[in-house]
Symmetry: C2
Subunit: 174 residues, 2 copies
Amino acid sequence: MLSAAEDVFAAQGTGASTEEVARAAGVGIGTVFRHFPTKEALLEAVLLERLHRFVAEVARWAEAEDPGNAFYSFLGQWVDMGTAKNAYIDALAAAGAAAPRLGGEAQQRVLDALGTLLTRAQRAGTVREDVEVPELIALLVGASRALEYLGEDTSSRRRTVQIIFDGLRPSHRR
Amino acid sequence: MLSAAEDVFAAQGTGASTEEVARAAGVGIGTVFRHFPTKEALLEAVLLERLHRFVAEVARWAEAEDPGNAFYSFLGQWVDMGTAKNAYIDALAAAGAAAPRLGGEAQQRVLDALGTLLTRAQRAGTVREDVEVPELIALLVGASRALEYLGEDTSSRRRTVQIIFDGLRPSHRR
């Protein structure tokens, strides 16, 4: 049901009704309300589910054999996510911005996973030392917005990502 | 009246009513409708007015004696604009994205002004050669979103701007 809810909210925005979620999930509206008494509870569950997937993905990159390149592979994948992107960004921004709704645990897991990915790349010498997790989240959020603006202009997208990546490298590696 | 309309839309969003604009401008609703038959016409006039101010500001920086540093001064001022920011971003993104509503002339003036600012900085050797106007607008839009996310965290804001600026510099100047 969460997966159907995510699809519906992604396609129609968070204004989509619980009835539409029930229809997409192929269950009665009563079933949805039994699991999620309010629409806020349903939205929160979708958001948490996304965050857990995001954490799992970051953790996978953080464990890569080549942490210096893994950092940029993760970033590149993130900014290319396309349609699923905005939903993730909202989830990430909400977590990073200490949204009280999300609870401390999910938020802390996001910050820890990004911190590990970043620290390992810094130790490998591919990311400047003065970057911390808040700037990393801000750049992910900003890069997504920048590419959203550029739309399908592939060469501009590539150059924009390159500028941000070059800015993240230590001065001797740029 | 345009200035009152801009204040009202900035404070309350574009959903604010024409009645509220009339009240803020100290005129009757009939007067507003005589100048702007529809709310869309009023919004468009506000957007155009903002774009003209933006063009004038970019043109001023593009004529600076030190074009290499002027480019970064303009960027720094832009990302620090604070409350007035989102309105400008919307206007800029709309112009850059070829919004048909705006008409070709206003849009072309924005693109020309940014192009002059960028080209002069590239000639002065402070901006990498492979940056073009679309990437510049994308980075302005993205940086604003990144800083909006960071809120009042001054040191993270400064580092985020620095990363983007460093990415824009030619490799030998970073």
